[in-house]
Symmetry: C2
Amino acid sequence: MNNFIEEHDPTEALKRVFRRHASGVSVITTNDADGNPVGFTATSMTSLGATPPLLSFNVARGSSSFASLSRCDYVAVHTLGERNVELAKRMAGPSTERFIADDWERGPFDVPIFTDTSAVIIGKIREIHNVEANAVVIVDVVESLLGLEQRGLIYHERGYALPGDRLN
Amino acid sequence: MNNFIEEHDPTEALKRVFRRHASGVSVITTNDADGNPVGFTATSMTSLGATPPLLSFNVARGSSSFASLSRCDYVAVHTLGERNVELAKRMAGPSTERFIADDWERGPFDVPIFTDTSAVIIGKIREIHNVEANAVVIVDVVESLLGLEQRGLIYHERGYALPGDRLN
C-alpha cells in the first residue's frame, strides 16, 4: 500500500474521502403537519432498482424536515441542473427561507414543486430505516415530470460544479 | 405544472429522471468464500452521517457479488478519479475479468485494493437491508487510505465525465 496515506481516525477518514467523491444534487420536498412546504438539498439521492422502481436518500433524524418525512406519504424528488445553484444553496440554508421565493407551485398530491429544475420524481415513502442518528428513506416512484434539459449539478470538493468533457 | 412533461409509467419515469442526475463513481471490493476477490462499480455510494461515520450503497441481490457481501465482514470502498475510467468500465463488465490486471493488492483485513484510485475507505458491514430485489448495504467506516489526488469521476447521461468549472 505504498501509494496511500493512511488515516486511522474513522470520522476524519470519512470526511477526507468524501471530499474527493463527486455527487449529484437533488432537492426533496413535502409538507409539514399544517400543510406548509418543507424540504432540503440532498447529495445522497440514488436509484434502488427498476422493478419495482425505487429510490433512496439519507437524512439526519435531527434535521428540520425529518418529522415531516416521518408523517407524510408523498414527496417530490427534484434533480438539479446548471440553473439551480441558488436553489441548492437556499435549500441547504435556514429552513425559514427555503420557500420565500416565487419559484414553486403545488404539484400532484399537493407536494411543492420547484418549476425550474431538470426533473421531478413524485414518490410515495415506503419505509424509513433508522441507523443511529440518521435514516435511509426508501421511496416508490409514482410518476415523473421532465423539465428543462440542463447539465446536471454536481457537488465536489465542497463546491458546486457542472460535468465537463465526456471521457471515452 | 406548465413547464413539465409528465411520465405516468413509474419504470420509465425512474429511467428518464436518473439519466439527468449526475453521480460519483466508486468501486466496492471484498472476497468470496474461497478468498478470491470480487467487486463491482457503484454509483449509489454515499455518506450516512459522521457520528458514527457510516456510508451506504445499493446493490441488486441478483448480482455476482451479493452472496460475498452477505458473507463477508470487511469491504474496500474506492472513490474513482480521472485515471480510473478503464477500471470503472472493467468493474461493471464480466465478473471473470474484473481482477485480471495487475492493478490491485491485498490491503487491511485482506480486502483487494486498487492502488491507482483517489481514496479507499476500509469498512465493516453493519447491516444489509433487503428491499424487493435490491439491498441497502450499511457500512461502518474503519479507516481510509488517501491516494493520488485527482478529479472525481462522474457518471451522467450514460457516460463518464469529470467535473468542469466551479460555480459560485
